[in-house]
């Protein structure tokens, strides 16, 4: 089975920190797939680890790469891309 991959620009104005990081990690965990995330050129880390995701230090406007394999990987990554494309720190 081939690996699925998506590239997305961080839309949260504070970067992938705090609330946006927590929401992303919760969503990645909910897919049930071993999703990985990395900044372009860096080694991929476990997207279900809030510590690893925060340590990426992905800022507003930076591109990150999401990868996953397994059943439903494409649909799961599309959901995560949609999530990261919103400003998750904006008040509801």
């Amino acid at each position: 089975m081939s690996q699925s991959e998506r590239t997305v620009t961080i839309a949260s104005s504070v970067g992938l920190h705090a609330r946006p990081a927590a929401l992303f990690v919760q969503a990645a965990t909910a897919t049930g797939l071993p999703v990985k995330i990395n900044k372009v050129g860096d080694a991929p880390v476990d997207a279900r680890s809030i510590l690893a995701v925060m340590a990426l230090g992905a800022k507003f406007g930076e591109e990150v790469v999401l990868t996953a394999d397994g059943d439903g990987a494409d649909a799961a990554l599309d959901e995560l891309v949609a999530l990261l494309s919103r400003d998750l720190d904006a008040p509801e």
């Binding site: 920190h17 927590a22 809030i50 510590l51």
Partner: protein, 560 residues
């Protein structure tokens, strides 16, 4: 009552309270050379169960917290449940470490990455260490460190309290605070005074007092009675009644018995503080610390957010003055959005006005917000800068404040250079306010946060009083008022000395105002002047205090 275990500490927040002890436990370190587990899989499973239970505790707390704390606690629970943390601990187990040591080392790896990254991530190190400390304690079969869940009114006892621990304390559950270390200017002291509950610091053997033991705490004298008998409790109640009577006898503006005015003002930190202090018998605000709007935030607060908060504060005081201190942050209170990098000596680094000079856009937004709120409310707003050392800085700040249409500008005098050169600094501005906590720290070269140095940090140190006198001379020379907004202003006896030196306003935790007002009304200005001379002529803080007490009205002991 001779058989009662009576101990003496330093009273830092007045009042009397009786209640059972709750001990705040310090974090436990893993034992040296903790033995490697017999079975790595079992040990790994044990670590995962403990981390899961820590996550559960944090989520329970989150469910009962306010929205801001809830977000932080939820994210912290996720850290405890992080698969990467458990995997990193596995590696240390495989390397021959014991479970507690493995969790500790795994957490520290992430702490090192976060500290290195700085800013927002560096602030999260505290949260991760909270997870670590709980997990280590539980793996060792001990209770969690920190403040336990409070189930009824109690006396909080600790070696010392960190700001994060004090922040979660609720006034209706905490009758008094007692610490074994910490000084009169520690966070504990400031918090207790703000909450209006009695507090004693530097109490010998405090952490050895058993949980549930009844303590009677006199936050004015620093006396603590362990397991007091009914006679002792009755005597304390009588003492408390005498004080209440003495305090209730006066009201209105501060003045000496011969009518010399000394304005009595409140120190505040938030809009909520302003609303509660605004309802009290005070003449305004002498120190509005604006840091809370900035600290712990990932982004600088917007202009609109600031206008909203400042408007609430100004409205609470109507036509009474509000002295606002612009952002006082820096290396020891880092801001995620204005991080200038680590410094070896934060207290001597780019803090206060020096940070504003590096990041003028922060100051400009704050001044625009203050000016907008001032115009909207018609309030008597006066703006001052922290950590000013030179006349050039004073002039730079004054120009910026006036450009924003704020007519009254001042400087804090916290640096000895500023006290010695007060007349030159004051030539540029309208008033000055002495921050005696920092002034003592810089005069005596003694770190405010070091409880062991409390004697050097005593505002009765004659050298500190000499610098106050120098600042007042500068004020007289230029015909400009000098206030005091440090903890020194809240000591009724020292307030008399400060008034005698020429200080014209005293700003303090609002709960301390009645005692200072009563002390002033008992003495005339010439007595205060004689007290100031006696204090400066003394060779030690103790001698200074005794010399002043000898000149004071004998009923002043009911107030202190």
């Amino acid at each position: 009552m001779s058989a009662i275990d009576t101990r003496h500490g330093i009273g830092v927040s007045p009042g009397i309270a009786v209640g059972p002890v709750v001990q705040v436990r310090p974090p436990v370190r893993p034992p040296d050379k903790e033995p490697a587990p017999a079975d790595l899989v079992v040990a790994g499973e044990q670590i995962r169960q403990v981390l899961e239970s820590v996550a559960g505790t944090l989520e329970d707390r989150a469910a009962r917290a306010d929205p801001t704390a809830q977000q932080i606690l939820t994210a912290t629970a996720m850290m405890a449940r992080d698969p990467g943390l458990a995997t990193a601990a596995d590696k240390h187990l495989a390397g021959g470490r014991g479970p507690a040591t493995a969790v500790d080392a795994a957490a520290e790896e992430y702490c090192a990455i976060f500290t290195e990254a700085g800013g927002y991530l560096a602030e999260r190190v505290t949260d991760l260490r909270d997870v670590r400390d709980r997990a280590v304690a539980r793996l060792l079969g001990l209770q969690d460190p920190g403040v336990p869940e409070l189930t009824g009114p109690c006396v909080i006892v600790a070696r010392d309290l960190a700001p994060a621990e004090t922040a979660g304390l609720k006034g209706d559950m905490v009758l008094a605070i007692v610490t074994e270390s910490g000084g009169p200017t520690s966070h504990t002291a400031i918090l207790a005074a703000q909450m209006g509950i009695p507090a004693v610091v530097q109490l010998p053997r405090a952490v050895a007092i058993g949980v549930g033991t009844i303590l009677a705490v006199d936050g004015s004298t620093g006396e603590v009675f362990v397991d007091p008998d009914p006679a002792t409790q009755a005597e304390l109640v009588k003492r408390s009644e005498r004080r209440t009577e003495a305090l209730g006898a006066t009201s209105g503006p501060g003045m000496t018995s011969d009518g010399h005015p000394v304005a009595l003002l409140a120190n505040i930190g938030t809009a909520q503080d302003a609303e509660s202090a605004g309802a009290l018998d005070v003449e305004g605000v002498g120190l509005f610390r604006t840091e809370f709007l900035f600290l712990g935030h990932e982004k600088a607060p917007s202009l609109e957010e600031q206008v909203t908060v400042y408007t609430r504060v100004f409205e609470a005081f109507g036509s009474r003055r509000v002295v606002v201190r612009t952002l006082d942050a820096g290396a020891d209170k880092p801001l995620a959005f204005a991080d200038l990098g680590p410094e070896d000596n934060p207290a001597l680094g780019r803090r206060g006005l020096r940070l504003s000079a590096e990041r003028p856009e922060l100051l400009d937004t704050q001044l625009t917000a203050l000016s907008t709120a001032a115009r909207a409310t018609g309030a008597d707003v006066r703006v001052m800068a922290p950590m000013v050392a030179t006349a050039e800085e004073s002039a730079w700040f004054a120009r910026r404040v006036r450009e924003h249409g704020l007519p009254v500008v001042g400087v804090m005098i916290e640096v000895p250079a500023a006290a010695l050169r007060a007349r030159h600094l004051l030539a540029e501005v309208d008033f000055a306010s002495l921050g005696t906590n920092d002034l003592a720290q810089y005069t005596m070269a003694a770190d405010r946060m070091q409880g062991e140095l409390a004697t050097l940090l005593d505002p009765w140190q004659p050298a500190v009083l000499d610098l106050v006198a120098a600042a007042c001379d500068g004020g007289r020379d230029k015909g400009k008022p000098i206030g005091v907004c440090g903890e020194a202003a809240a000591d009724p006896l020292l307030a008399l000395v400060l008034s005698g030196l020429g200080v014209s306003s005293l700003s303090m935790a609002p709960t301390r105002v009645p005692a200072v007002r009563a002390a002033l009304r008992m003495h005339d200005l010439s007595t205060c002047t004689a007290m100031a001379a006696a204090a400066r002529a003394a060779r030690s803080p103790q001698d200074a205090r005794e010399a002043v007490l000898a000149l004071a009205n004998k009923f002043i002991t009911d107030l202190i």
